[in-house]
């Protein structure tokens, strides 16, 4: 079927759906992340709730057509509240055989598979390691397959611009996007405007992409390829103003907000690293805010500069992923010893070593809580959703300044790249962050502590009469002079530990999702929140005595945690590592917690949690 054929459009039926999961997959050069982001942004604007899962290779351009080069973007959108990007996609858009092969296993039985038939050449099949053509060998029998010549239709659609060859065929992602927009009743306007802006310096490309987008939409509209299109009504979100944003965007905004709320400028020292670099990009373009960014020569310099800035009275911030944290360890110890406010972002990825740079994992918890020489306590917080990154960033700064301590902000690849509708808070609802610089030289002692918080004074250079020296050698209590006295060291080690422990009095108690006591309690932290909560909801609907708690504060733990853990017969700790939080909980509370874990570089599926909980119900 081609667009040139005159067809009388059939009266397509509209089917209403509550929730849809689509995955776009193609070569890493096919623009799948862009396609997915455009679909997600439009979906947000039409009022659905949504959750996304970008999944891309570490190589910028792995060999075209190979399994290693497949890039995917999954989006779950719905007319009700959702918290996770979906287990099994209902729809797969696959731009080549490799994309089909590496994703088809995840697609629900009976699901829709749209493929670019033009890409199923012998060469591409061979590159994907397909011995037979999956479009012909019957392996897709349980799916509804739509073989569409996306490339050739795109070439025709853009031919009037004069573009040809690779440049023209590169527009096929917009053709596919237009098609899926029609299929799910989404307007093309937002993407049209986006293309206009993005390519304003290249009119030909601008026009070609627009033509491809519209051609895809019109193709679906005017041919009888799809007999049904689908309606997903607006979600009943809490009234308010929303925007769609990723965890990394929320993180950057949160730290800028903290600067504005505290009246202290933000200094961000960072060295580019996946998946944290977007935070640097976001902050670097905000030079009209009280923000200074510094792309350092290495990870150590990045944190050293942040410590220098914190010493000078800025909010010192450094951001990286696990391998970078490994390099920053000694400097974190320096900030602990000198008791300066500092926030360290770790957007966790698969490890050890270089590991899986673009994949998510939660295996740096021990590193954050324990991973330094000496007794070296720091506060550790972890946002649970992309949007929560904003609020936890402010919270991390509040704790860092109030307690004069480094604070770890543990994000992960899933949160960093995942997007969701974010209810924009009112400025008046944001917390104030109090900052007190010591100014009076009267009786000044660099390590004299606030009796309640145990924080030492923030005495910044430029203050007359407070000239003093700090450093990484052990400090004498109160004076801050170098001291090797054994009892003083013992006292200082305990004071530093006690200062962090006291933060527990200043953080919200754990809230339980579900009933207060019962059979199984699921404990999670960080980006697994959506999957765990959805699983527990499902089990609760089935009548199981299951509830969950999600930790945003990992050091110190909230005061009521131990007591809450005791109220359930069985405690399951679900995390994307081999049981790090589980071990901390067992050590701290002597609770016989069981680890539910996964280390595949991918988030939990809801079904995986459900299955794990069921295994412990009534046992």
């Amino acid at each position: 079927m081609s667009t040139e054929t005159e067809v009388v459009p059939g009266r397509q039926t509209v089917e209403e759906l509550d929730e849809v999961v689509i995955r776009f997959a193609g070569d890493s050069g096919d623009g799948m992340q862009l396609t997915g982001t455009q679909f997600a942004d439009t979906t947000a604007l039409v009022g659905n709730d949504l959750s996304t899962l970008p999944d891309y290779p570490a190589e910028i351009r792995a060999p075209a057509g190979t399994l290693a080069g497949v890039s995917g973007y999954q989006i779950n959108f719905s007319s009700h509240d959702i918290r996770h990007p979906g287990d099994a996609p209902n729809v797969l858009v696959a731009m080549n055989p490799a994309a089909l092969k590496s994703n088809i296993g995840d697609i629900e039985p009976g699901g829709v598979v749209i493929v670019d038939a033009d890409a199923f050449t012998d060469g591409n099949l061979a590159k994907a390691g397909c011995k037979t053509n999956p479009l012909r060998d019957g392996s897709l029998a349980s799916h509804r397959v739509f073989e569409l010549p996306l490339t050739s239709m795109t070439l025709k659609a853009v031919s009037e611009t004069g573009l040809a060859g690779r440049q023209a065929s590169r527009c096929k992602n917009f053709f596919a996007l237009g098609l899926v927009f029609w299929l799910y009743e989404r307007p093309v306007d937002y993407t049209r405007e986006w293309i206009e802006k993005k390519f304003k310096t290249n009119e030909t490309i601008q026009k070609a992409n627009t033509l491809a987008l519209l051609a895809g939409y019109n193709y679906a509209d005017t041919t009888e390829t799809f007999t049904t299109h689908y309606r997903v009504r607006k979600a009943r979100l809490t009234p308010g103003t929303y925007r769609s944003l990723t965890g990394n965007e929320a993180t950057a905004s949160g730290f800028i907000a903290a600067a504005l709320l505290s009246g202290r400028p933000l200094f961000y020292g960072s060295y580019p690293i996946t998946p944290a670099s977007d935070i640097l990009h976001e902050l670097a373009r905000r030079k009209n805010y009280p923000v200074k960014t510094f792309q350092a020569e290495d990870e150590i310099s990045a944190i050293g500069a942040a410590i220098g800035a914190a010493y000078g009275g800025s909010i010192g911030l450094t951001g990286t992923s696990g391998p970078g944290i490994a390099l920053k360890g000694e400097a974190i110890g320096l900030a602990v010893m000198t008791e300066l406010p500092l926030v360290i972002i770790n957007v966790q990825r698969g490890g050890p070593s270089t590991g899986l740079p673009t994949k998510t994992e939660q295996a740096d918890l021990f590193q954050a809580v324990l991973g330094r020489n000496g007794e070296c306590p720091v506060a550790v917080v972890a946002p649970a959703t992309p949007g929560e990154c904003f609020h936890m960033a402010i919270e991390a700064v509040r704790i860092a300044i109030k307690y004069m301590t480094p604070v770890f902000f543990l994000s992960d690849g899933y949160l960093a790249n995942g997007a969701e509708p974010w209810s924009i808070p009112k400025v008046s609802d944001l917390p104030k962050i109090d900052v007190h610089f010591r100014t009076s030289p009267e009786g000044f002692q660099p390590y004299e502590r606030d009796p309640r918080t145990l924080a030492r004074p923030w005495a910044v250079p430029g203050t007359p009469g407070l000239e003093h020296r700090i450093g990484g050698l052990e400090k004498e209590d109160v004076t801050g002079n170098v001291s090797y006295d054994p009892l003083n060291h013992d006292r200082m080690v305990r004071l530093r530990a006690e200062k962090i422990a006291r933060i527990a009095d200043d953080i919200p108690p754990i809230e339980v999702f579900g009933r207060e006591s019962g059979d199984v309690r699921v404990v999670g932290w960080g980006g697994t929140h959506g999957a765990i909560t959805s699983a527990v909801e499902q089990l609760q609907r089935e009548g199981a005595a299951v509830s969950s708690i999600h930790l945003r504060y990992l050091n110190p733990f909230p005061r009521n945690l131990g007591e809450i853990l005791g109220r359930f017969r069985r405690v399951l700790v679900a995390e994307l590592n081999l049981g790090q939080l589980c071990m901390l909980l067992r050590a701290k509370f002597l609770v016989d917690a069981v680890s539910v874990n996964k280390v595949q570089g991918k988030p939990f599926k809801v079904a995986e949690i459900v299955r794990a909980v069921r295994a412990h119900l009534g046992t």
């Binding site: 150590i300 800035a309 009275g313 002079n481």
Partner: protein, 338 residues
């Protein structure tokens, strides 16, 4: 507001100095304390940042703000502090191990960025605090605790590192030549941009007399070359000898012999746009040549922190000052009715 004129004593902290008796660091400390009152910066705006090593204890003894950081990383702290607080006078004190070995990466990048900071590198060509291993500046074949058969390594030339890093002020002085050291420190303080000063410093415990062959007071006239901008490079008790360029090779000539006149002698130009001359001077080693001291190279370039601040001002002028309201509502938004 006028403040009383401070003296050297005002810059001495209450801490007991704990270097070994006879260490060259004492002299450098004394000169720094002497220079501080004259650099035109209020004491509270002066910060000394150091790494690890004997020299890095320096900040404890200066009655200014001070930060004794971790091994090799002083330039990074200084960088963050200077970007955040451009009005401060930031001094980095480091050694040949701290600055050239573990911290080499930071040193070159700090100099390349040209922050308006002063870097004093105390070069004693040995690891003192760890009791006597060779350093990256130790001469080839040097026998130390960690090189009992002599080192197998070519030493690094700190000034060449500075020149290659496009440092805008490159100088060398001596712990024992007090007027010279004072003069170089004053000039470094006045320089706008990164000033790198290598100071030959005697470790009387682990590398005693390392520089005596040419730097001992009675040897200097014959074996050192005092660099002065715009002046011919003459040395010797009666300044009878000089450096002449033979093709691209420097050579020692005697004025009055073989028809050599002062006009044949190379004239120092610390402001030469090209670093060629400064680089050539870094190749002069004893015993083949006198060892140069003074300012090798000076250049003018905007300081990094000024560029950063200018970008902030320009962005604010172009986009308007950011606010919480703007931050929260940037990008595409939609409203869900109540």
């Amino acid at each position: 507001m006028s403040t009383p004129k401070l003296t050297r004593a005002d810059f001495a902290s209450d801490q007991t100095v704990r270097w070994c008796p006879g260490c060259g660091d004492y002299s450098i400390l004394a000169q720094a304390q002497k220079v501080m009152p004259s650099i035109g910066v209020a004491r509270e705006n002066i910060v000394f940042v150091s790494g690890i090593g004997c020299s890095s204890r320096f900040p404890y003894y200066m009655n200014t703000y001070g930060f004794h950081s971790i091994h090799g990383r002083a330039p990074t702290l200084a960088t963050g502090l200077k970007i955040a607080r451009p009005e401060l006078s930031v001094w980095v004190v480091t050694g040949d191990g701290d600055g050239l070995s573990i911290g080499g990466n930071h040193l070159i990048h700090a100099m390349r960025r040209n922050l308006d900071i002063k870097i004093l590198l105390f070069n004693n060509r040995i690891y003192g605090l760890t009791k006597g291993q060779y350093s990256p500046a130790s001469e080839f074949g040097k026998k130390t605790k960690s090189s009992p058969f002599g080192t197998a390594e070519q030493p690094i030339n700190p000034l060449r590192v500075a020149l290659a890093s496009e440092c805008t002020f490159v100088a060398r002085s001596l712990d024992t030549d007090i007027p010279h050291l004072t003069g170089v420190l004053e000039r470094a303080a006045r320089h706008h941009g990164t000033a790198f000063v290598e100071i030959y410093q005697n470790c009387n415990i682990f590398n005693d007399g390392a520089f005596d062959e040419f730097a001992a007071k009675e040897m200097r006239a014959e074996r050192m070359l005092l660099l002065e901008h715009g002046k011919p490079m003459r040395f010797g008790k009666n300044r009878e000898r000089g450096i002449r360029l033979n093709g691209l090779e420097p050579e020692i000539v005697t004025i009055g012999e073989n028809g050599v006149t002062e006009a044949d002698i190379l004239v120092h130009d610390e402001r030469a746009r090209e670093q060629t001359l400064a680089y050539l001077l870094t190749s002069l080693h004893y015993p083949e040549f006198p060892v140069p001291s003074g300012v090798f190279h000076v250049a003018e370039r905007p300081a990094l922190e000024e560029v950063v601040d200018r970008q902030g001002i320009q962005a604010t002028a172009a986009m308007g000052a950011g606010s919480l309201e703007r931050l929260l509502n940037s990008g595409a938004t939609w409203t869900v009715g109540g």
